[in-house]
Symmetry: C2
Subunit: 118 residues, 2 copies
DNA sequence: AATGATACATAAAACAATTAGGTATAAGCG
DNA sequence: CGCTTATACCTAATTGTTTTATGTATCATT
């Protein structure tokens, strides 16, 4: 697990990119997906996730549909057209950002695993 | 300029890594250094920087010395031994984090610039 | 019957960063 | 000389996100 502070500001990006990949997901599924794909290194808390989903919906990036599973109601989220564009923008921005940061940090103690590049 | 939200949680890492690289820097110098090295893409605000420097000092990661430049007083910050270790830890953590994030985001719309890798 | 997993949600508190302000010296320019 | 920009420090109020804590309820397993 990373110190959670690094995660700040990346939650929307994560959610949008997963939805771009999977078309339709529900909240709990998103948390599990992230946990699995990152070997538990990133764990979304529900207290952060649900408000974010609601916000993205209110902003027009997501739409919802409720599906009954037995007596439970699952709430599926999908990207709108604008949301799809937003997903692209956010993912690209993160990539650019992480490159910039890594350049900045590489001046000091270059990553041993990248030594062979130079 | 990136949307500032991505910067959240990285400020300490940036400050610590620059000090590991330069031995001795003052606040204003740090802001300029970051701005120059990132072509203006990352700009630290003073309202965020100074409290962070004070906090890192209070936590024992930094020491200060005041130097008079004419009538002005510059406050130089240096890493303590613990601070040096912390710099390493923080930088490594960021690197691991950005790798994890990029893996997570790469499932969707893999970065065209990395296509040749696969 | 109890526990853990699934599945949604909100509200109070904590925390970091932005915004906006304050002080002061030094340098450059018309 | 006066104005503006750059240098250089700082803090306080507000904003915004996340954590922590809590609540509800179904379903599966032991």
């Amino acid at each position: 697990m990373y110190s959670q502070e690094l995660l700040k500001g990346t939650l929307q990006t994560i959610v949008l990119s997963l939805l771009a990949e999977n078309q339709r997901m529900y909240g709990y599924e998103i948390t599990q997906h992230v946990k699995d794909k990152t070997a538990g290194e990133i764990q979304l808390t529900e207290g952060a996730l649900y408000p974010t989903l609601h916000k993205l919906e209110a902003e027009g990036f997501l739409t919802t549909e409720k599906v009954s599973i037995g007596k439970r109601v699952r709430k599926y989220y999908s990207l709108t057209e604008v949301g799809n564009k937003q997903a692209n923008d956010k993912v690209n921005e993160f990539r650019r950002f992480s490159e910039t940061m890594n350049d900045l940090l590489n001046s000091f103690n270059p990553n041993p695993e990248l030594q062979w590049l130079s």
